[in-house]
Symmetry: C2
């Protein structure tokens, strides 16, 4: 059956949202086109009316996730605490797309890597603007180091099966990158 142009755009948005959530939760390979379409409330056949291929979907889903999650630029401390929280660790599906997919994107075609690169660059720039100035270090260096530690800690905390060690990695990294508060 046919559908309103409005409805079609909405369906496309649904597909992207479902894909970006499923990819973050399970990884690119574990999520099939049919599963994405089902999660979007559609059937698998219509997929190729919206996207060229699964590769195309991966790239657009990354872009969708990275542009959607751009919060406010103030309150770095709060951002850090939320990022390195057990809640974020336990909810990859709605969390940071870089922590969930950056390692995976290494094996993906150029379009997906380009989208990821744009997201990483934007996040570093945002952090650079948000971080407090310091006499001893440069802001951009701080931003890059802090971002790397955040992502590394979240990935490690998610990889580890021992909850105590996982919590320790989150908590100690948070104290380490932000010693003052």
């Amino acid at each position: 059956m046919r559908v309103t142009q409005e409805q079609m755009r909405e369906n496309r948005r649904r597909i992207l949202a479902a894909a970006s959530r499923l990819y973050r939760e399970k990884g690119f390979d574990a999520v099939g086109v049919a599963e994405v379409m089902k999660a979007a409330g559609l059937t698998h056949g219509g997929f190729y009316g919206h996207f060229e291929s699964k590769e195309d979907l991966m790239a657009q889903a990354i872009a969708h996730a990275t542009t959607e999650l751009s919060g406010r630029d103030d309150d770095v401390g709060g951002f850090l605490a939320a990022y390195l929280s057990p809640a974020h660790r336990n909810d990859a599906a709605n969390g940071c797309p870089m922590a969930a997919l950056a390692a995976d994107v290494r094996h993906r075609p150029p379009a997906a890597r380009a989208a990821m690169t744009a997201g990483i660059r934007a996040q570093i720039d945002r952090l650079t603007r948000a971080l407090p100035d310091s006499v001893t270090t440069e802001r951009r260096r701080d931003a890059i180091g802090t971002y790397a530690a955040m992502i590394g800690a979240l990935i490690l905390a998610r990889a580890v099966e021992d909850p105590a060690l996982s919590d320790e990695i989150l908590g100690e990294t948070r104290a380490w990158v932000n010693p003052d508060p």
Copy 2:
């Protein structure tokens, strides 16, 4: 044909070495049993004489890689420089198994996660022993934060397609975690 007990153990070692290299290079999903066996100089059928399943192989390959790469504990500065070098970024196949596989292991069965957990714990302990003592921070906290930053930076550097940004992430993180030298 049959083979010496010695030869069989050697074959098993070859399979593990090939698997650990291929997994680090391409990820778990992209590497099939047949490819691993071929890289080890065998045919795919004999695989189940050595391992229960692909899951079993994944877990043992992680353990193999993590126990093999335990270098000396001194010279943290040199270790850091090598870890955050373009050479390491470009050679995931022979590099740190955590940077290559920790994010992936999140989607794997318990055995693989247990092996990865053991490797991460050992590496944190090793770094804790190797880091210089400090008045302002605790050694274990330093170790965890530094390790997180190293892994995060390497993952980001490998995800990014722009070589300039990739190099910058490596270099700035290195300067950030180790400001003195």
